[in-house]
Structures are given as C-alpha cells and as structure tokens.
C-alpha cells in the first residue's frame, strides 16, 4: 500500500525529468513542506481532508512554479554555450531542499515529531490471516485515482498534450507555437502538487518532521526500477519497492530495511541501467 505513495512521489520526479532533464533533489522536502502546510490547515483551521488536500496541492503548486520562475529561469538565463547547465540546475534543486528544510526549522512546530490525524479509520480488516487497514486501502485507492487523473490530463487535454510535446521536443514545440517556458513552469507546478498530495497521504502513516524528506530515496529507487522516463514503469517501481522493503524486513532482517532502497538502486543500475521498464539507453544526438 505504501508503495503507491512512493509511486506518486516518483511520478513527480519523473515528469520534471521528462520535461526538463533535471533530477529534482528537492522533491523530498516538497513532500515535507506539504505535510506541514496540511497540518496548518487541519489543526489551525480544523478543515476536513477533502478541502485540505486540494488547498495544499494548490499552495505547493505555487511554490513549485515559483521555484522555476524565480530560480531556474535565472540559472538558465546565465547559461553560456559550452557550460553544463544541468549541473547548475541540479544544484539549484539541492538548494531548494535546504531552503525548505531551513524554513520549516524556523518555526517551533518543527521541534517535535508529529503525524497528521488518520484520513480514515485505522481499524483492521481481517481476511483470513491477512490484515488490512481501512486507511491503507483508502490511501492506495486515492493514489491510483490521482495517477489516473494525471494520465487523463496528459492524454486528453490540450495543455497535457502541449506538455508532452514540450518534453519530447522543445524546439519543435516552440515552432508550432507552444509557450515552452510557460509549459516548463507548469510542469514544476504539477510535479510539486503531485508531491503535495503524496505528502498529505503519507503523513498520517509516517512522522512529520523536517527530516521526513528522506523518503525521496524510496521514490528514486522506484523511479530507477521503473525507468526514469517510463511513467507506467515508475508506478510499478513504487509498488515493487514497497513490497521489497517489507520482504527484506520479513525474511532477512528489520535492520536491513533502511539500506534496501540503496541496494535496489545499485543492483538495477548495474544490471539494467535504463530500469526494468525503460527502453534502450538513449543516445543523445549533438
């Protein structure tokens, strides 16, 4: 069940990567700040989850889009021919992670670990020897629903198609009149909103703290398993990493859970660098 959330976070990484070729190392901290924003609306205003999820997604959408406009746009603007712009862009996302973490630490709310109240009842459901929690089932279904909405958006809407065109060939997209710069900002916003939904869904299950961004390593593992450019593969990768984590805990040792994503990443990169569902390693024409 938790794997579906890893898949959501991994998706937020993948759509940014597909559109901009930037790996977002600030993704975990976007999840973290979303949890704090949701906590703010839930506890201070007493709003229900039905309102908190979209409102948080909207606020974080603005944060993601603003990061592109205010930071990445300027980094790109200072790009000189011959310089490797990707390094500067990736470092900017590392900077984003530190800024978000530092900002949260300014507030005393971050002094203590917290969790968000359960979205649904945590009472167990027994099916023979199998135990499921209503909350886990609900989180899984919501994650699937969000993924389907995303699929529908990219497949059937005009903006979605424009975004795909931009990610596949920005120059050609520009030639047919697609505002590539605006599309890039939109992608950052959507990716942040996706991470925000994941953050709100995962927070009742995990602890909310300035360090919770560490969950991003599981999303990276999911993305690498699935192939960094294959959306469906990433979803499967998320579920697979969730299952592997628990199998390792069950049959090897609880101590090994923490290192599982790193081992998975190394093994996949050695055996099949393009991921289990990725195509052949792309060769870039220069």
């Amino acid at each position: 069940m938790t794997g579906s959330i890893y898949a959501l976070i991994a998706l937020s990484l993948v759509i940014v990567f597909k559109s901009t070729e930037v790996i977002n190392f600030g993704g975990g901290e976007i999840v973290m700040i979303s949890a704090y924003i949701a906590m703010f609306f839930l506890i201070l205003f007493g709003l229900p989850y039905l309102v908190v999820v979209p409102v948080t997604a909207l606020v974080v959408f603005v944060i993601g889009a603003s990061f592109d406009r205010v930071v990445l746009d300027r980094v790109l603007g200072r790009h000189r021919p011959g310089q490797d712009i990707m390094v500067a862009m990736v470092i900017a996302t590392v900077g984003l992670s530190y800024v978000l973490k530092g900002t949260v630490r300014l507030f005393s709310v971050s002094d203590d670990v917290r969790t968000l109240p359960p979205i649904f009842s945590t009472d167990p459901i027994f099916i023979g020897d199998i135990v499921l929690s209503q909350q886990d089932i609900a989180i899984f279904l919501i994650s699937i629903m969000v993924m389907m909405l995303l699929f529908g958006f990219f497949t059937f809407t005009r903006i979605g198609k424009a975004l795909r065109a931009t990610s596949e060939n920005p120059r050609a997209a520009m030639l047919v009149g697609i505002p590539v710069r605006r599309m890039r900002t939109l992608v950052w916003g959507i990716a942040a909103a996706l991470a925000a939904v994941a953050g709100v869904l995962v927070s009742p299950k995990l602890l909310v703290s300035p360090d919770m961004g560490g969950i991003i390593i599981l999303a990276f593992a999911a993305a690498i398993i699935g192939g960094f450019t294959n959306v469906l593969g990433v979803i499967v990768g998320g579920v697979v990493i969730g299952v592997i984590e628990n199998l390792v805990g069950l049959f090897i040792s609880s101590k090994a859970i923490a290192i599982t994503p790193f081992i998975v990443i190394i093994l996949v990169l050695i055996a099949r660098p393009q991921g289990l569902f990725g195509g052949a390693v792309p060769i870039k024409k220069v």
Partner: protein
C-alpha cells in the same frame, strides 16, 4: 520546602560520615592547592552547563537544564558551598556530538570553567569522553543514559543519573515478566549502540526470569515503514511487546501494532514518550493505548505526591515555563551530586579532589526511584525504574520499584 531541607540535610550528613576519611586527605590549608585549577575563586565556582535547548530533541533537555540551574540557584540563596556561589554558563548543544565537543572546548579554554555539567543524548555525551579525559576535566552528564560513556568507567566522566539503557532494558523485561506475567515477550529497539545496550540487559533479565524473549527486532531511527518488524512480532504470537525506541518510531510501532490487530500489553521505554500529549496525537488512536505502559526512573508520577516538591519548586523558579516535560526532574540528581561532591571536596577543591568525592557518592535524591550510587569503578549513577499505565489520558502508577541486575558489557 521542608522535604527539600530534610533531603539535603539527610544526604549531607550521610555523605559527610561516609566520606570523612576521604575528606581528611584534602588539605585545605595547602596554598599550592588553593586555586590550582581554573574556574574557582574565593567567591565563586564556574560550571559549564549545556543541554539541547532547541531543535527536535529540545524536549529531552530544556526543562532538565533549568531544573539543574534551579538547584544551583537554591544552593546560592542558602549561601553557596564553602562560601562560594555557583555561577553557571549555559549553552545549547542541540544533542549534536560536534556541537557538544565544541561547547566543551569553549567552556574550558575561553570561559575557564571548573567542571562540565550537561548532555541529554547518549551519542553526543560519548563524543565528549576523549576530550575531557585527555584534559582531566570532570564531566557530569545531565540526564543522558550514556552507556558507552560510563561503561567501562573512566575517571572523569559521571552519568546515567536517569539510568543507563541497561537499566531500562533490564527493568522493563522484569516488569513485563513479574507484573504482567508475560512469558513470551517481543522486543523492539534501535539498531545502534543504544539499542544493543538495552537489548543485552533485556536478554539477561529474560533468562534470569525464565521468560522467552522472542522476535527481537532492531530498527533504524529513521525507519519509515514499520510493517515488516511488526508483522514478524505478530507472527511470533507474543503476550507482551516492549518498545525501547525513540518517540517517533515508537508512535509508528504502537499505531501499527493496533492496525495489525495485536491486542497484547505494550510497554514502552521512557524515551518513547517524552511528551505524553504529543505521543497520543502521533499515535492518533486512543484504542491503540488500551493496554499501554511506560517506564520511568522517577519515584512517582510527575503529578504524584513524591514529585510535588520538585514540580512546585520548578513552577516557583520559572513561572513562565508552562507544562514542563516529564524529564524536568531528571535535572536535579546530577546537580545534587555536584553540590554534594563540592561540599565533600573541602573548602579548596581541585578538579581531582572533586572527582575523588564524586567517586564515593551514595544518596537518595528525593526524585528518583532508586538511590544514586557511584564508586571507584562505577560511573553510572542510577539503576531503577517504576512503571506507569497510560490510556492516553490518565497516568496510573503500577506498584513496585524494579532494579536492573545486569552490569556486564554488551
């Protein structure tokens, strides 16, 4: 106040009698020894006092540090020690080993303190050991369990005034076996030195008590998904579950135990529940706490009659410190130990004579479940726990005081 006065008087008399031969060895008239060490003058003794005063581990140290300061202030109001007032210099170590060592160096080289007092987290206090030993500076921990810093003992480091992790592991299994009549105990701890120390004592006590320690799970402090370890515990069919992790993982585990349909008593270590209302919120389901207990090194509930004097004293000293954490009273015993040792070290104490005096201390604190006992080869101060039933709202003290019998290494 009468209780405090009686406690101080009783302890002072007992200590003076016990240490009379040692005290005679100190020659107060020796001019060479008068101000041999820095941080001491005719009018004051300077102590470097530190704890996590900010950050996510603040709950373990903030009120504790101020409780220690409160004790020093009270001693100063009564005229000080041998006519000298105690002056403390306070620093925030954030429970970080690098910060703590940096603070120690500053205290010693810039502020020229006589001794160091502080530390609420084991890993940071362990880091301090090398510097204080090399420079022969007495270091008295505030409330860190600090197993690796006090076992094996070294001359200048004293600690575990709230008990070591060995104390915790030993007493918690003893409680599960004797009070809850558990025969098959599942045990979940951290996968570090901290967890290894309490697990070793737990295994020893289980063997002694004739109970089985099953499904011993060790998890990372940063664990995200606790499903696998709790599933393993469920498969082992325990009749009690012990949790000795920090509060974050402990809340996740408690929640997951309920979600996976396990309905057996849960006994948590004191570090799992530094702030009970916050723990309840993090568990998020009162039903998960239907059969929940936690250990404490104190002699009573924080609002119990035996703790009233220290709670009242703190409230009076710091009227603006609302709702101190349950750890607050832990700050008093280490400050008491320092005061007694300074008294015993005579009118012209040196760092060495202070350490000698510390090495002979044995006293009742008035706040802890058991006595503080230090020795030439014993630097961990406290070794007892009480247990409390907590249903999410009400704390009820269980009868009895539990003593750890495990003294060995890992």
């Amino acid at each position: 106040m009468t209780t405090i006065r009686h406690t101080i008087r009783a302890v002072a008399i007992a200590t003076v009698i016990a240490l009379a031969p040692a005290a005679q060895a100190f020659d107060p008239s020796s001019p060479a020894g008068k101000y041999k060490d820095p941080g001491i003058t005719d009018t004051e003794i300077v102590i470097g006092l530190h704890a996590p005063l900010s950050g996510r581990l603040k709950a373990f140290g903030y009120d504790v540090l101020y409780a220690a300061k409160m004790w020093y202030d009270m001693i100063n109001k009564r005229g000080g020690i041998w006519g000298r007032k105690i002056r403390v210099i306070i620093a925030d170590d954030k429970c970080s080993p690098t910060e703590l060592v940096g603070i120690h160096k500053k205290f010693v080289t810039v502020d020229k303190v006589f001794l160091l007092h502080g530390g609420s987290c084991t890993h940071s206090t362990v880091a301090a050991q090398e510097y204080v030993t090399r420079n022969k500076i007495p270091y008295v921990m505030l409330n860190a369990s600090g197993d690796a810093a006090v076992i094996p003992p070294t001359r200048y480091v004293f600690g575990a005034f709230g008990g070591t992790q060995r104390t915790l592991g030993g007493t918690i299994v003893d409680f599960a076996a004797r009070a809850l009549k558990a025969k098959r105990i599942a045990y979940i701890s951290h996968d570090d030195e901290y967890g290894a120390a309490n697990t070793a004592a737990a295994r020893f006590t289980a063997k002694k008590s004739g109970v089985e320690l099953i499904a011993v799970e060790q998890v990372s402090r940063r664990i995200v998904d606790v499903t696998a370890p709790v599933l393993k515990i469920r498969a082992a069919k325990p009749d009690a579950i012990v949790i000795t992790t920090y509060t974050g993982p402990a809340a996740l585990i408690t929640k997951k135990i309920y979600e996976l349909g396990l309905r057996v008593p849960i006994i948590a270590a004191v570090q799992a529940i530094p702030n009970p209302p916050s723990f309840v919120k993090n568990v998020g389901n009162m039903k998960a706490l239907a059969n929940f207990y936690y250990g404490s090194p104190l002699n009573d509930l924080t609002r119990g009659p035996k703790q009233k004097w220290v709670q009242d004293m703190y409230k009076k000293a710091y009227p603006k410190h609302n709702r101190p954490t349950p750890f607050m009273a832990y700050g008093v015993p280490s400050a008491q130990a320092i005061v007694y040792a300074l008294m015993m070290a005579g009118p012209n104490p040196t760092r060495e004579s202070f350490v000698d005096a510390m090495s002979h201390l044995k006293f009742n604190t008035g706040v802890l479940a058991g006595p503080i006992e230090l020795g030439e080869n014993k630097r961990d101060g406290h070794n007892a726990s009480i247990f409390i039933k907590f249903d999410g709202k009400k704390h009820s003290r269980m009868s009895g005081v539990y003593f750890n019998k495990f003294v060995g290494q890992k």
